[in-house]
Symmetry: C2
């Protein structure tokens, strides 16, 4: 395929994409296929000679679409949203064409520089403390990671490296492996499973802090303080705490101001690295009314959220800020000759991963929506969630299982886990709307997350109509 | 921006991209900017109200292009290639629009399934042993990672997990942290810096195996055997060896058959995990004449290369195969309720990371080129490298610094490192062609890698003309 054919095929693809997104709600949101469905639909080996482009395009409907879970359908209420906007798609097209790999400043200066400035733009939208903004006298700044899981791990590794460095500085004879085996990290029992996995990868103890329904599933300062004290008494070295703002099960918020102060002096004075994971909720902090949820950020060493979830920037774009760039650079720096260049290490840039030109899509989205447009988008989703909450609350058979703060509603039928599991299975088998469950205090709970860019009030009401209809069926069949 | 406007802007973007790629060789390949150049060109904050799309597009030439290193210019000879093809770009557009996050089968079955089948297609193109193909009776299969660095780390973590499991099985009382501190991994001193970093991340010793120019920078079986014996005698536990096929400095190849047999029985019989990193060179193994370089794969536990380097599949697409899927699944499995679904864990699929629909671009590329088209592409690059090698060899002032096996030519002026450093600086400052250096046996060496899809013989000859012209200048100025 040459450039001339790409001009033609590219324009056809633009139409195909626009058609797909304009008509997405006519498709079943959740596919009706069994594992292994695809293998028999295509050859067992790649062709020797080229296929025609027409055949490839035909196979999109024949092979791919029957197995797609349509994340951008307005009837998709599962997991958390993933972003999808036209400006981001345009930027991604350009990024793919430029196709530079940004592993150093010299590998494509524009890539490095736009990323640093876009991270500042976004940091300012969130009103982050100046410490986290690169274009200031502070020592911090932002960098794009692929996912929040990656950011959690990167922060943990930087914290581990800092802890080992500090201990070795005061006791140079101590063997390094002996230190690692004493380190202990903490996170909520509500934290995303990737936090636990980060501990496994880094080879350090990761302790789960128990939370209670009565505390709205937030980590209590007192609990953390006690765990730290006990571990210190047992000869362990507390070094990392991952706070969550907007947990995956119920969108619960740890009180980071209280937690920051937990060990008498703030955590960061005690050199316990506090990382804040706000993967989903972070986008909302661009609205003044939700920004208080981030109060306490001044105690954090690092902070991360995913514009690729709720800020209209297509995957992947997970934005991470650190108070001290040198903490990251020091933990990961490698300096082979093939990566050296004239402008080596001005100390202003820091990268821990390869990336394409991911900042381009931030730039396109921020400019094409403007801050106000982005705020409107967040507020609309929160309103839709509140609308769904009202519908649930108005129905005596149902209950709300956790505070509705942003775009997630946790709810269930009053009754057994079994009846709720049956209801969810019935909902998803209908393939008209798609939800996933969570477990809260031993209860099986349905999560209703407002996800798609095009979700409107009518979709919410339609979803509720469907849920109540299926609930009626289920309640008639099962003992209540 | 609504779908109607996207139809218009998307088509404009297709033309912009085609224009960019058709005229790329008119641009200076390496940008003439200083660190910090971009910040002053754009506002300090995101706009409150939306900008116009026209303004955004205008800024591509004003703000971005002056700072771009044009990786797809036929005058780009730095690092290793990164792929850029029209079929891959079309697939990426579609992937962005579908925008599903493939963290489980249910999150989008087509995403999981096409990935598994495309990995089989590619594995068959490489004639991998059946053990590594998912659609067989074997226990292995392939999975797409973001980068070779990630694959190296994933393999190391899986190996660490397996080693700890095996030791605990025979000695359940042994503390796990005590085991990790005894583990030792190995790789060539020519291995990519990310291998060393993987060791840092995993918190295990990573020993570099010395190589010699006289052995063509390949790890010798005898050297590895001796190191393993010494470490065992010292009470350490050898558990991982990362072999490299096509090193970054000089495209050297470890002899994996010899290495596989190193400790009497094959490494994998001794339960030392052999991972093969063929990030760049792996693509060439689809050609029968280069496939012998992969002989010995039957001793490996895992194997990785980057179609996003040399197989026309745009970044990111790093393909990794393992002999036993359960080794990966066991090392990373997390099972929160919000990720459970009816078709949980059939054992056929395994994922260690989120991803978009990265297999779509493999599918488009394999079908639009066909195996023959892909082989032709590899062969053309190798021929161009051989052509450059002949030019260098025909000039008495220069020498070739390492065997030219694929698309990389390592060469230098006979003379001091200083004269070669000066030559390289002069070349890159000219901004007509772009190269990076490496160090081989203490010598400063220039790396000439055939990179762009559109590089032709005339570009190679033009590059050589420029290099010899600058060499003449430098040799006149500096004492030879």
């Amino acid at each position: 395929m040459d450039a001339a054919e790409f001009r033609r095929r590219g324009k056809e693809m633009v139409d195909l994409i626009a058609d797909y997104l304009e008509n997405i709600e006519q498709r079943p949101v959740y596919p009706d296929v069994e594992p292994g469905y695809l293998r028999s639909l295509i050859p067992e080996e790649a062709p020797e000679e080229p296929d025609t482009y027409e055949d490839v395009v035909k196979d999109i409907e024949r092979v791919i679409m029957p197995g797609v879970t349509h994340w951008h359908s307005p009837y998709f209420y599962a997991y958390f949203p993933t972003a999808n906007s036209f400006p981001a798609m345009l930027a991604d097209m350009l990024s793919g064409a430029i196709g530079c790999i940004g592993f150093s400043w010299a590998a494509s200066p524009a890539c490095t520089e736009l990323e640093t400035v876009m991270m500042d733009w976004l940091g300012k939208m969130l009103k982050l403390p100046e410490d986290f903004i690169a274009g200031t006298h502070g020592q911090g700044g932002g960098v794009i990671q692929g996912t929040a899981s990656e950011a959690t791990l990167v922060a943990l590794l930087a914290a581990r490296s800092r802890a080992v460095r500090m201990i070795l500085a005061s006791d140079p004879q101590r063997p390094e492996t002996g230190i690692t085996s004493k380190l202990v990290a903490y996170s909520s029992d509500q934290a995303h499973c990737s936090v636990e996995r980060a501990g496994m990868i880094a080879g350090v103890r990761m302790k789960k802090i128990p939370t209670e329904q009565s505390d709205k599933y937030a980590v209590q300062g007192e609990t953390l303080r006690r765990m730290i004290q006990e571990d210190k008494a047992a000869g362990l070295i507390p070094f990392y705490f991952c706070a969550t703002l907007g947990t995956t099960p119920s969108c619960a918020f740890d009180h980071i101001t209280e937690l920051g102060h937990v060990s008498g002096p703030a955590l960061y004075v005690s050199k316990i690295w506090m990382h804040i994971d706000a993967a989903y909720a972070g986008s909302s902090f661009i609205c003044p009314e939700f920004r208080p949820l981030l109060n306490g950020i001044e105690f954090a060493d690092s902070f991360n959220f995913n514009p690729h979830k709720w800020l209209l920037v297509n995957f992947d774009c997970s934005t991470m800020w650190v108070r001290k760039r040198s903490d990251l650079i020091g933990a990961f720096k490698m300096d082979p000759l093939y990566l050296k260049h004239d402008h080596q290490e001005s100390g202003r840039y820091f990268y821990t991963d390869n990336s394409l030109f991911r900042s381009l899509k931030m730039w396109f989205v921020f400019r094409m929506y403007g801050l106000k447009g982005l705020q409107d988008y967040i507020r609309k989703h929160v309103e839709l969630a509140k609308e769904f909450e009202s519908l649930v609350r108005a129905d005596q058979r149902f209950e709300i299982s956790a505070d509705v703060v942003l775009g997630l509603v946790c709810f269930r039928l009053k009754g057994s886990n079994e009846v709720n599991e049956t209801l969810l299975k019935r909902i998803n088998n209908g393939r008209k709307i798609h939800l996933v469950p969570c477990q809260l205090s031993g209860q099986f709970v349905l999560r209703f997350a407002v996800c798609a860019r095009t979700t409107e009030s009518r979709h919410i009401r339609e979803a509720w109509r469907l849920i109540t209809q299926l609930a009626e069926e289920v309640m008639q069949e099962l003992p209540h």
